[in-house]
Amino acid sequence: MNAAEAIVRCLEEEGITKIFGIPGVAIAPFYEALYHSETIEQVLMRQEQNAGHAASGYARISRRPAVCVTSSGPGATNLITALATAYADSIPIIAITGQVESHLLGRDVFQEADMRGATESFVKYSYLVQNADDIPRIMKEAFYIASTGRKGPVLIDIPADVQRAQLKKPFTYPSEVSIRGYKPNTRGNGQQMAKVVEAINHSKKPLIVAGGGVILGNGEKLVTAFCEKNQIPLVTTMMGVGVAAKSNPLYFGMLGNNGKPYANRAVASSDLLIVVGARIADRAVPRPENLEKSVKVIHIDIDSAEIGKNLGPTLPLVGDVCEIFRELLTADVHIDTTAWLSSLEEMKHSTVDHRKFSELGVNPMLMVKTLTEKMEDDAIYVADVGQNQLWSADNYVMKQGRFLTTGGMGTMGYSIPAALGAKLCRPEAQVVAVCGDGSFQMSMNELATIAVNHVNVKVLVVKNRYLGLVREYQEKHYDSHYSGVRLHDYPKHEKIAEAYDMDYFECSDNESLPGVIDQFLASGRASLLVCNVDSANNTV
């Protein structure tokens, strides 16, 4: 057995059935081994970055590491943006990159790129494989590292000659890993736990701020159960959208600049914020230092380095969200939040949303609301980046589905490949990608992958003929000096749909919106819906 075959065996052992990538000479031995696998199907993408995003979409739905693969040099460097995106969003992906022959390493030969060096700050860990016999250990470790503690991408760079080299020892897939510098602690410290319970019991207006970490840790049910048991209200960050259903009376929306004004008011009036799996970045709370003075903050996170990074002194509790909330559910919490809840309820109904929307074209807020109300209960919604992302996150009607987006890196072009990955993971699920006309053009080449694989992904383009979010910024901060943001009326979307065998729909007014969305969702194959939106619409 050679190393390439050993990698495939390891992937089979890990239960991998799909791999996203593009081959090249430096990864050819691996593709040869893959050719003979009975259980793993390779999905040929049209650009490596999208292979990474597709793996990300797949991993978020399977809640396990997913795999992408590229050749050396440009193939591998094309992947870097996707690795950085997965790293910022803590998504477990395994990236296998081909590398030039080992004896040529460091000589700047054709298609050599120092991937370990280049990705140092974008991966959780990386390997340069030098010995075929290390493969089983490295693969086992890579899956373990990617999927435990704070999750993230792991890179395995492997020279072509090492891929071809025979294993000297018989192949066995290890059942255990032992990395002396890596022992993620999952159980919350007992003393800290007691302090947390005490702080909750002393509070009158506790509020949970749930971030993407809750979803990554599979903690949605336990966190909402804790809220329900103790009648503690909840808001989320953008990455936390989906932790609670919209219909949950304890859920008060997404916070932040682009979130619900009443969610922000809730944060401002709370006396105890319980921040769970959120980094409290600049987008969510513009000036976190103002927060701490008036309220007490409990910060629960799997990554101790998050604690104290953006928020100042807090009551930290480091551990796995499920373990912590399982314990908190049995803790003796006895508070009466009736008054707090009714004041929030009152806030919710009295806060007026001052945002004005154009009379022309489709109202993007209404569009997201209508779409998500009509989507199946457990459907997957993938939001891209730009104004469309903010409208999506703010107006998404969460039922039992999933809301995927990239909040950490904000990489345009994420939605189409991620939706493809998500759909291949759960073929029975309804999957909709929503993007701007700018983001669409960053990954529309993957419509070919969608067509070839007969994947029924729905793509909705919020077409405002601009790089909308930047245009909005220029309007506010640069006196409407629009510079480099006009997209004009290209591409001709109906022709793109035709080129890729998609059903095409278009909508330009609110009245016909529900009907068009019905058709769009009902269509039996991949389909494209363009909603024409007035470029004058802003997010705040």
Partner: protein
Amino acid sequence: MKGIFSVLVENKDGVLSQISGLFARRGFNIDSLAVGETDKHDVSSMTIVSTGDQRTIDQIEKHLNKKLDVIKVRRLDETKSITLEMMLIKVSCNLNNRAQLIELCSCMGAKMMHVSAKNMTIELHAAPDVIEEFIELVRSFGILELQRTGTIAMLKG
């Protein structure tokens, strides 16, 4: 404030660049860095000295701990540790002031390694603040070359 970290790391390639990269990327200072193998050939020891506010020093410790190739991080309290550094320094001197320089050296426990007509090469191993002091004392002679190893440190007892 000053942070002295004694860090045990895997002795493999790329680890030093991971650690220095971490400091560079997050804007943490490295005042000094000393690396060497321990008695176990697969483990290296690093002593890293940094300055920053309390939050920064805490963050450094956490981010070091987060690195998978870091086996152990210890923050050393300066008052409870032995800190040591070595320096080679070449100072210009001539017949007129050589005696004065020799006296300084013996006073400070520095060793004369080489003497020529125009200069003297001196070795000193001492606590970092003594090294600083010595540098100031000989500055007026004219420093021609200076090399320091960076601090190494160990907890007492």
